[in-house]
């Protein structure tokens, strides 16, 4: 990451709310910290349509305010010093967490928060945001969102759910791992086949209670994903499948998918879409003996 990239990332950051004119000024700062105000204005006037000294000073004052430069003495050296420090920080971290969309890390799954985010999706008028996705082996918290999903369907929101095919070798392997390494309270009762089928029974009820049930799209996979994903619009929670615990009982990365740096958001979305493509559709139709279909889903 060079100085220019750093300045660009900084200018995009929502923390400072810089205007387009202020961004132009900031982009004229060089890395050496030796520019005087006069040097800076000259640089500016070479790069952009020339402006008056007073107008330039006003823009700088706004920038100082937004960066909270309040110390005594000349403010430009203070701004340069602050930016130099941030640049060093930036280089150490390579990229800002906020820039990649990481907004928080929870110690376990934030049940109410995800519910609120689904509510936001239900209320939004933005068609691009009308999407709820879940990727899990089985979702122990699926019942918490039954009402949300029914409302999603009523509001024409697509809900996509990716779960493990319960008869897959991968699901059996995950069960063996948890049985062996998770703490006693979990390992004694874990039965992935039953837990996925319980999720399908919940979805069957949701389908039964909805007139537009094609909006619930369920697919099952026979592989081993490494992250659980819960997405509502541009909000996403990602958590690892650890040996010692369920994905909802460990740290959850809270991400915004509209981040300026799409590295993480795009990677997770692409992998979800890839899994979605290779997984097989399964519809727990209340009017059908779907357990028979489930057993042979990947066999023929």
């Amino acid at each position: 990451m060079d100085w220019k990239n750093f300045l660009e990332a900084l200018c995009k950051s929502k923390d400072y709310q810089l205007t387009a004119h202020e961004v132009e000024v900031l982009m004229c700062l060089d890395e050496t910290q030796r520019q005087t105000k006069k040097d800076l204005l000259e640089t500016y006037n070479r790069s952009y349509p020339a402006i008056e000294d007073e107008a330039f000073t006003q823009r700088l004052k706004n920038i100082y305010k937004k960066f909270e430069i309040t110390g005594r003495g000349y403010k430009l050296p203070q701004l340069q010093k602050l930016l130099a420090e941030k640049y060093l920080q930036y280089q150490n971290k390579d990229i800002f967490f906020s820039e990649v969309g990481l907004s928080y890390i929870y110690t376990s799954f934030p049940k109410d928060r995800f519910g609120q985010e689904i509510d936001n999706v239900i209320r939004t008028n933005n068609p691009a945001m009308k999407q709820v996705d879940i990727l899990q082996t089985f979702a122990p918290n699926l019942n918490d969102y039954t009402e949300h999903f029914i409302q999603c369907i009523q509001h024409n929101i697509q809900v996509r759910i990716l779960l493990a095919w319960p008869y897959s070798e991968a699901a059996k392997l995950r069960e063996c791992v948890l049985k062996r390494y998770a703490d006693r309270s979990l390992s004694d009762e874990i039965n992935i086949c039953d837990f996925v089928i319980a999720n399908l029974e919940t979805l069957e009820k949701i389908i039964g209670a909805s007139s537009n049930s094609h909006l619930i799209d369920v697919r099952l996979y026979d592989t081993l994903p490494s992250l659980a994903i819960y997405r509502a619009g541009d909000y996403l929670l990602a958590a690892p499948f650890l040996h010692g615990s369920l994905a909802i009982h460990t740290f959850q990365l809270e991400l915004r998918l509209n981040a300026s740096n799409q590295f993480i958001a795009q990677t997770l979305r692409k992998d979800f879409e890839l899994m979605w493509q290779v997984a097989r559709s399964f519809y727990p139709d209340p009017g059908r003996n779907w357990r028979n279909d489930l057993k042979i889903l990947f066999t023929n």
């Binding site: 008869y167 029974e201 003996n289 357990r291 042979i296 066999t299």
Partner: protein, 251 residues
């Protein structure tokens, strides 16, 4: 050794499909087809005893667990523990949907040959006890008799069954809930030793994984081949009893 088993199994299956009844199945009248399926139901009902015997007889805990899992699938429950229609109920329903009456299914006596095939199958498993490779013989017999050949039988019979039942939701035909699904999830599906980590395992493949581990000596190989041959002969004999129906066909 595994190559020998795979070649042997493929050859037995090919021979089985050439049973005169299957070759000329189209010549069988519908009432006769129902007669065959009603007799075949007695073997389906006996599967539970065969499986229970195997669970008690095998020593290896992992094999026991697999066999138990397959048997439990015959009696599904939802995750609240409420019993759902068992596979034998689904068989009964398929037979009704094929045109048999409840009385025909329930009151038709078992023929002597069906009874003999059923009893000899059980006795054969008893005979394996105490032999050097008894686990191999039991498992090979169980897999071939109750899974591999079942799928072959139903795939041959499906040519006629599918005249009245479908494998999908269809507005014209009722869906088969027993024959079709057993045809798929019991099938051999791959050579022994070639089971994939991705995709699903059929019952025959689940048992094949254990069988593969047991075939570690010439004696075990011999027991396996002999058990499969016996399963083949018993099932073949079961269908022999119906070849006379071919002479009574309207063709």
């Amino acid at each position: 050794m595994i190559k020998t088993i795979n070649q042997f199994e493929r050859s037995l299956i090919a021979q089985f499909k050439l049973h005169p009844l299957f070759v000329q199945l189209d010549a069988i009248t519908w009432p006769h087809l129902l007669e065959i399926l009603i007799q075949r139901r007695f073997l389906s009902l006996s599967v539970v005893n065969i499986y229970e015997f195997a669970i008690d007889a095998v020593a290896d805990q992992q094999i026991k667990q697999t066999i138990r899992g397959i048997l439990n699938e015959e009696f599904p429950r939802n995750t609240k523990g409420v019993p759902l229609p068992s596979h034998r109920e689904l068989l009964f329903q398929d037979l009704l949907n094929l045109g048999a009456t409840s009385e025909m299914i329930l009151a038709t006596p078992e023929t002597l040959i069906t009874q003999k095939v059923r009893n000899e199958s059980y006795s054969l498993m008893v005979k394996y006890l105490g032999t050097e490779s008894f686990q191999t013989a039991l498992l090979a017999f169980l897999r071939f008799w109750a899974e591999v050949l079942v799928s072959v039988e139903y795939s041959c019979l499906w040519l006629r069954i599918s005249e009245r039942l479908s494998n999908e939701q269809s507005s014209h035909k009722i869906r088969s809930e027993f024959y079709y699904f057993h045809m798929i999830h019991d099938s051999r599906n791959s050579d022994v030793g070639q089971e994939s980590l991705l995709g699903g395992l059929t019952h025959a493949q689940e048992l094949a994984i254990h069988l593969h581990k047991l075939i570690a000596s010439e004696a075990a190989l011999h027991s396996c081949l002999e058990a499969e041959q016996k399963a083949f002969e018993l099932k073949y004999r079961f269908y022999d009893q119906f070849t006379h129906l071919l002479d009574q066909s309207t063709y």
